[in-house]
Symmetry: C2
Subunit: 274 residues, 2 copies
């Protein structure tokens, strides 16, 4: 699945079909079962990551989640990352920058939220907003936006070099699926709070956002920090895919349980006498 989802050098967003399920033959029911079955593996890997960091290895994982409104970023957090021990997770949802944040370079607030050793950090939106909405809605000048792509590449290289694996996922939904998900929020009184009239305004820029995403994937996919574009019209598939990507990322780290730094038998005797 990982190889199928990784964006290659001749990436085209239009070639990714949002309702498709690359690398998985089953349907919703089989997908949910596979997700449940994979939870323990991921959970155990996360605990090893944490254990190794306690033994002094400076390692972490950063999962960057990007996608249009309603693409399911929150669901990934809840149904994929939410199945591992919360002590091993640090997540942050990046909103419109505060006044303080605006006074700094665009990477400043992101740096402050990088995961500590042993932890899976999750960014719900990220520094990529600074080359997505900023480009589409002209929040920054075009030449300023232009400078950010290489700045992001350097930044992520620095993170990877420091021992943090960077996993970047774009959840790719179709415009029609977004319409259906927004409509649901207007049908239920307990969902009104999730709806904002601005969501419909943004839909007028759909094509420009697709172009901006394509530029992001083309220009910031590096060996250290590749992009994975996950078809996301089927929530169950997107969740399973991100679980598998996270699992594969952790498996690559060759984690193992740290050896005891004390004499186990001597400690058993001390404990028994205490």
């Amino acid at each position: 699945m990982r190889r199928l989802l990784m964006a290659g050098p001749d990436f085209s967003l239009a070639a990714v079909d949002p309702p498709s399920t690359p690398g998985f033959d089953g349907g919703k029911k089989e997908g949910a079962a596979a997700l449940a079955a994979g939870a323990d593996v991921l959970s155990s890997l996360q605990e090893k990551l944490f254990a190794e960091s306690r033994a002094g290895r400076e390692i972490a994982v950063l999962l960057v989640l990007q996608g249009m409104d309603t693409s399911g970023k929150g669901g990934i957090l809840r149904h994929v990352v939410g199945l591992v021990d919360p002590q091993g997770v640090q997540h942050h949802a990046f909103k419109a920058p505060t006044e303080e944040e605006q006074h700094h370079d665009f990477l400043w607030r992101v740096r402050r939220r990088l995961p500590e050793p042993g932890v899976i950090g999750v960014f719900d939106r990220s520094h990529y907003e600074d080359v997505l909405i900023h480009r589409v809605r002209g929040l920054s000048a075009p030449d300023e936006v232009e400078k950010r792509y290489p700045a992001i590449r350097s930044f992520e290289e620095e993170i990877a070099t420091s021992g943090t694996r960077v996993l970047k996922v774009m959840l790719h939904i179709s415009k029609d699926e977004q319409k259906a998900r927004l409509a649901e929020r207007l049908e239920r009184k307990d969902k009104y709070w999730k709806y904002s009239p601005g969501d419909v305004d943004e839909r007028a820029y759909w094509e420009q956002y697709q172009e901006a995403y394509e530029a992001v994937v083309e220009r910031t996919s590096t060996p250290d920090a590749p992009w994975y574009v996950v078809p996301a019209d089927r929530k169950w598939y997107a969740r399973l895919a991100v679980q598998q990507l996270l699992t594969a990322t952790l498996e690559d780290m060759q984690l193992s349980w740290p050896r005891a730094t004390f004499d186990v038998e001597a400690e058993k005797r001390r404990l028994a006498a205490s």
Copy 2:
């Protein structure tokens, strides 16, 4: 259950029996079933809390978890708080203070971790360490420790006044149960990393810790921030008890789904046309 667990004015820690299960008649199996059954209720309340904060109410919940090593604080985080949406939770484990933290008042680092509106904040250890280990192991002078009790009362009153409900839980285990839990860590290679020889050293101060906990409960239980002392030799009971305490705390807040701030029918038409 809440009434039984709340520490009253004539509180005595010795009167709380660690293997008991106040307010619950069933055993482990029934307890696990009750915990699973309660997850959706708590989850829905948390979502309402979050929704109301988005609509402008400045409300939050702070769960303070204290207890001896191995008392199960991490298990509460994972199996109780871990069942609600991670986006609605901010947790922090307070360790020995860093050099920067030591340069400030003992409440400084705690203030910085208070939950944002809409969120359930969880402290795994807290400012109470400054009147527990500091008292028992003499990390601060006795008159300095003495001043901290009223400082804590004022601090928590301030938090409550600002709209954050404060729920303080002491997980109360027996010295024998701690021995059994530490012994388990010495039996399994995948648990060695959780063991530290210092854990046995601390056991020599068990009685002093009990006295320090009793002083904490006596001197910092207030109407705004009461202490609940939860018997914790049975993990399943402690989890169920904390779930019920959290649920009751949220129910007290009289949460409801915010009304739409837009014309629902007009938005349906705009969305359909988009």
